[in-house]
């Protein structure tokens, strides 16, 4: 499972999450962009779904820990969301790698698939995150989506409802953007790197040793 190329991929995808996610968090935008690496990892390991899920989850977990230590004290509690995004990416988004790599890109189909995958990922992410947001943090974490939750609370919604509604407002938009960026990065990745990732462990371990 853990060949050197895959270890390198995990680290790079975690770094991508940390870099982009931290900037968005510090700017207090009502989106996150902190899971592009998870989705990208799943796309790059589309040929081996189990490896894709495990590596994407590890990349997400590493970025969770780093962001928690350095920038966002709430982040570590969203580990379940990380796993959910990894799962959806492997089961759904990674099915369309052929489309993402097509040259020329069929724009209509591409946009449709990105919207579909983004919305599904966003809805699942919102539902999984809502209890954490509601019961651990009273609906308000340090990200810009706190404004949305606060708005719903002020309109008289109950806490969990406000958290879910906030998630369903912000998450699909956020995840559409993340699927789009991940797909474009996947499209730009050279084929020989993707081939290295798909190599069975014994062959590449012998080469890397």
């Amino acid at each position: 499972m853990f060949t050197t190329p895959r270890l390198v991929l995990i680290a790079l995808c975690a770094a991508l999450n940390v870099a982009v996610g931290s900037i968005v968090y510090l700017l207090k935008l009502p989106i996150y962009l902190d899971s592009i690496g998870i989705i990208l990892c799943a796309l790059l390991l589309a040929s081996d779904r189990w490896a894709g899920f495990v590596c994407a989850s590890i990349a997400g977990t590493i970025s969770c820990v780093i962001i928690f230590l350095l920038v966002n004290p709430f982040f570590i509690w969203f580990e379940m969301t990380v796993l959910a995004i990894a799962l959806i990416s492997v089961l759904l988004t990674a099915r369309f790698t052929g489309l993402f790599q097509a040259r020329p890109l069929p724009h209509g189909k591409f946009v449709t698939i990105v919207l579909l995958c983004g919305v599904v990922t966003g809805v699942v992410s919102a539902i999984v995150s809502a209890p954490v947001v509601a019961y651990l943090f009273g609906g308000v974490t340090g990200s810009g989506s706190a404004f949305v939750v606060a708005f719903f609370l002020k309109t008289g919604q109950k806490l969990l409802d406000a958290a879910v509604l906030s998630g369903l407002t912000a998450d699909p938009i956020d995840k559409i953007l993340q699927v789009l960026f991940a797909a474009l990065l996947y499209r730009a990745t050279p084929a020989d790197f993707i081939a290295m990732l798909a190599t069975p462990p014994t062959a590449s371990a012998a080469r890397a040793a």
Binding site: A11, G138, A146, A188, A209
Partner: protein, 243 residues
């Protein structure tokens, strides 16, 4: 202080920060970290304070605006369905910010304490399994690879006029191109090493030889003092929370 002691000390302070739930519970933790800064880091403490403030202040302002200014009650009060008070919400904001500040400050201070050691030297000094050392070295080397990739990408895009050296609207509009170029640079550097240099040389096993040659330092009396102080402060935080 040894690298092993420092790693455990940060873990203890982290645990203490996570379990403390009242502002007073942080008092001993902050006292220990202040003593550590004075004894082990000296004047460089101001750099750590500045960096930590840079991370925490925006969060503090944001949370104060939302929690105290807008919501007006704490999470516990919201969950209990009671009207709540701004004082309670302010206390919550203070606790969260104290926690993050302590975590970031502790990490910064330990980094500065050992800034004379390179990452590889630090890893060599740790008493952890060789596999863990190898993973750690690989991860840290990739952070250097990423920094190098960012520099390469900036060179390419600035030379072509796609982005500017200084902050600009063009950089925001073309920011995506920088991300893509950094990704491609990092991948290409990594692929080159993984396809040629590392397999031909067995470079990663050279690391294992280096780790085996290194003499990790055992915990010393200095480590023991800091660990006891840190554990004591964490226990105080737990006690206050229970009380």
């Amino acid at each position: 202080m040894t690298p092993n002691g420092a790693a455990i000390f940060v873990a203890v302070m982290l645990a203490g920060a996570l379990v403390a739930s009242e502002p007073i519970g942080f008092s001993l933790l902050y006292a220990v970290i202040a003593a550590f800064a004075l004894v082990e880091v000296g004047l460089r403490t101001f750099a750590a304070l500045a960096r930590s403030a840079l991370v925490v202040l925006p969060l503090a302002v944001f949370m104060a605006l939302v929690w105290v200014g807008f919501v007006g009650r704490s999470p516990a009060e919201i969950a209990a369905g009671v009207p709540g008070t701004r004082v309670a919400s302010a206390t919550y904001v203070v606790v969260v910010c104290l926690r993050l500040f302590l975590i970031v400050l502790a990490t910064q201070l330990v980094t500065l304490r050992f800034e004379r050691l390179t990452p590889l030297q630090f890893i060599c000094a740790l008493r952890i399994p060789t596999t863990a050392k190898r993973l750690l070295a690989l991860t840290l080397s990739l952070s250097e690879t990423l920094r190098h990739a960012v520099e390469r990408a900036r060179t390419a895009l600035i030379a072509a006029g796609v982005i500017t050296r200084r902050p600009s609207l063009r950089n925001i509009i073309n920011g995506w191109m920088l991300v893509q170029t950094v990704w491609l640079s990092a991948i290409t550097i990594a692929v080159g090493r993984m396809r040629d240099k590392w397999p031909i040389e067995g470079t990663l096993s050279r690391l294992d030889d280096l780790f085996q040659r290194a003499q990790p330092q055992s915990l010393g009396s200095g480590d023991a003092i800091w660990l006891l102080l840190g554990a004591g402060a964490a226990a105080f935080g737990i006690g206050i929370g229970i009380a």
